[in-house]
Symmetry: C2
Subunit: 450 residues, 2 copies
């Protein structure tokens, strides 16, 4: 098999696409296995022979359990990018640098790039997309959001003409695993997190997952792709799941809801005097139990798309793991190869500046949980505060929390409101915290998908 030279396109079946791989961790290793062990079947099935040309790693001495071809291993990532016999570059190093510089160099030299790097895309997407468009080559990133699930391509291509109003995703498998354990086994947050860590679903420092940073990066990329909106990770309003209690989950069940950590991106078209806006946020939310996202269990990911013509769609699958993510990289590699053969690139991502709607302007139903003094007049006082702030109550549940002396008894008050503005609900909560009869303002969850 002969590698093709730069400038030539893959003209015939016998021409091989030589892949330069940057990084050989979990995803890179799985991709090596796929490329080496499955090469013949892939070539026969797709007409595209892929060859692993080189693999850049940090340390050559580390033992690896993957079948890297002899001589392919190097520590010089820049040389892999510059190698004229490498046709396409796969970046699975992660992080901003050196990934960013390597990808820009590859694009500038006319090589398509496939990346799984959500952090980089969520922070430097516009720069990278522009570099790809200027060079007329592909920058593909199916693996960056929701791992193996074909999602980015359907959004960019199948739904290119669709008027998408909202995308909501369970895009972090770790937190979905934790919430599933809390919901199905009655585990506490800390026990569920410990189980996730012992199973390898959560890192020793779980901050990026449980505080929603990982999901926020993916939310930014979803806003890029679904709306063409120039959004970065830092634009995303973010709350994690550490504040979700067993009591919240039990009450959600009782009321017919499931609690999920959602990445939500919404688009409002310009209308009358109002400009186009997007809203981008990550927070735990209550979903009606028969909403398709509510039954997504364990470490599965799923993304729910609402379009004007197509209606509701959902894409479900494995959002992480070496093999599922490598599968997405492989799909992108074959796409890049197909486009190289056709002498060009596929669709580009063009981002425009769009106003980001502040979370205060969010309008949503809310679940509010309070611990209050269990005595006459308390509900009247609390509901008075809600009413003053235009927060109207859809349902209320009260339960006694203990049976000590009457004078000290506490009760749990749970409200589900009609849709209200975030700023009004926050003002309400501020005031409730100062009421004598309110001992604790507990779980506060937005209700979506109702």
């Amino acid at each position: 098999m002969v590698g093709i030279r730069p400038g030539t396109s893959l003209g015939a079946m016998s021409n091989v696409l030589r892949v330069g791989l940057l990084g050989c961790g979990n995803v890179g290793g799985a991709l090596v296995s796929l490329l080496v062990e499955d090469a013949e079947r892939i070539a026969i099935r797709t007409g595209i022979p892929l060859e692993l040309a080189s693999v850049a790693v940090r340390s050559q001495s580390r033992e690896r359990d993957v079948p890297i071809p002899p001589g392919a291993l190097t520590t010089d990532a820049a040389a892999v990018v510059a190698d004229p016999t490498v046709d396409v570059v796969v970046e699975v190093i992660g992080g901003i640098e050196p990934a960013r510089s390597l990808i820009l160099a590859a694009l500038k030299s006319g090589k398509p790039v496939v990346t799984a790097n959500k952090e980089l895309l969520a922070n430097c997407g516009a720069e990278l997309f522009e570099a790809a468009e200027s060079a007329g080559v592909d920058l593909l990133f199916e693996a960056a959001v929701a791992g193996g699930i074909p999602l980015i391509r359907p959004l960019r291509e199948s739904l290119a003409g669709e008027r998408i109003s909202r995308v909501m995703g369970i895009v972090n498998g770790t937190t979905n695993f934790i919430l599933t354990k809390m919901s199905e086994d009655g585990a506490s947050y800390h026990d569920a997190l410990a189980e996730a860590q012992s199973l390898g679903f959560a890192e020793r420092d779980p901050t990026a997952d449980v505080e929603g940073y990982d999901a926020a990066a993916k939310a930014a990329i979803l806003a890029n792709v679904a709306f063409g909106a120039r959004v970065v990770a830092g634009d995303v309003y973010r709350e994690g799941i550490a504040g979700v209690s067993e009591a919240d989950i039990a009450m959600a069940h009782k009321l017919g809801y499931a609690i999920k950590l959602l990445a939500i991106v919404e688009h409002n078209e310009a209308k009358d005097d109002l400009p186009e806006t997007v809203a981008v946020r990550v927070h735990p939310a209550m979903l009606p139990i028969n909403h398709p996202l509510a039954s997504v269990r364990d470490s599965f990911n799923a993304v729910f798309v609402e379009g004007a013509a197509v209606g509701d769609l959902m894409f479900l699958g494995r959002g992480a793991g070496g093999m599922p993510t490598a599968s997405a990289v492989l799909g992108d590699l074959l796409d890049a190869a197909h486009n190289l053969r056709a002498g060009g690139a596929g669709r580009t991502v063009t981002l425009r500046r769009t106003a980001i709607r502040p979370v205060d302007d969010l309008r949503s139903a809310y679940y509010l949980e309070l611990e209050v003094a269990d005595r006459p007049g308390v509900l009247h006082a609390v509901s008075g505060v809600l009413g003053e702030h235009q927060v109207s109550i859809r349902l209320m549940e009260q339960e006694s929390l203990d049976d000590g002396p009457v004078s000290n008894r506490r009760a749990r008050l749970v409200f589900v409101t009609h849709p209200a503005f975030e700023r009004d609900v926050q003002a309400c909560l501020g005031e409730l915290r100062h009421l004598d009869v309110v001992h604790l303002v507990g779980g506060i969850l937005r209700v979506v998908g109702a």
Copy 2:
């Protein structure tokens, strides 16, 4: 705006893609609305201006509630195909002829074709795919299976390198609506069917839906796309839902299962002396209640894909309806336009002859329901027949059906078996039907996804 001439490709943003539409029913009408009312937004968002050039219908005199441009309506479909100012042809007439001849003519003249015609593809797919490949133009058919759900493109492109072992789909909304009503409201099959008819989800003659013919056509197309296997609708083993009783559904619930009509296509690679085979079938099946397909309700469609690297995936959405289906057609139109600009076609579908595994060779767990005489020794006799045929019992439930004189009492016996061969189960049932103590062999359902 100037239409482009044949032979030229869409070189610049100002060049318009002129669409010739064949058929203006439910889907065609929705597409006209999208193309006419949303043209500017689509052009800005995608860089591709689409123009509705002509619309061929059977009768010009029928009143239509869609904004067809003046002069675009015609009854001469062949002239639309032959019109040199038409760049791409959309076929939403349905049925075999004249759709087949019109599509072949369009492809031969170098025009890409977008079709929603499952019946045609499931019967003449190989001929059409070959014609598209010879002409070097696109034949796109996202709308033919599972309506608006992006499924065909992900299978053809994102998963092109994936080793797919099985695809299982709820691909008929009518039957899923009926089964949902039976399951959630306890409706009888006949009442649920009547409700589906009154809501317009089922035709007056519901045969194509309830007997599984519609799903079988889609199964054939899924086998084409997922495996490249040359399968036609007539190759698909088919059972409908008319035999599913309220008692089956109630018992399924009790045992932790949901009943769904599934289109199932499976691939077995060549191994040792055994040739490559595919299995293609449509039948009602019991799914564990926590399987993602089990919670797909009402008229929604969903397709579950099992791949070696990617693991389990599911795609969910509206499988029918004018707007969702037109959304899929629009996505294909934009794809065809993109490929025309690039001067070629996208991926081709190449079918090869593959042995089709007979249903007798199917290995599956089974749910079997019998009405038997309620007296000692009956279970012994029945289980003896199962054992003789190597059908091993995983669980059994027995309930008394009446409380008349002891000598006439009947009982319902329900078995769930371990995986067994279809031929053995059928032999078993044949023998059971002849046992004196067996009054009735009732519901027989395969159990999948466990």
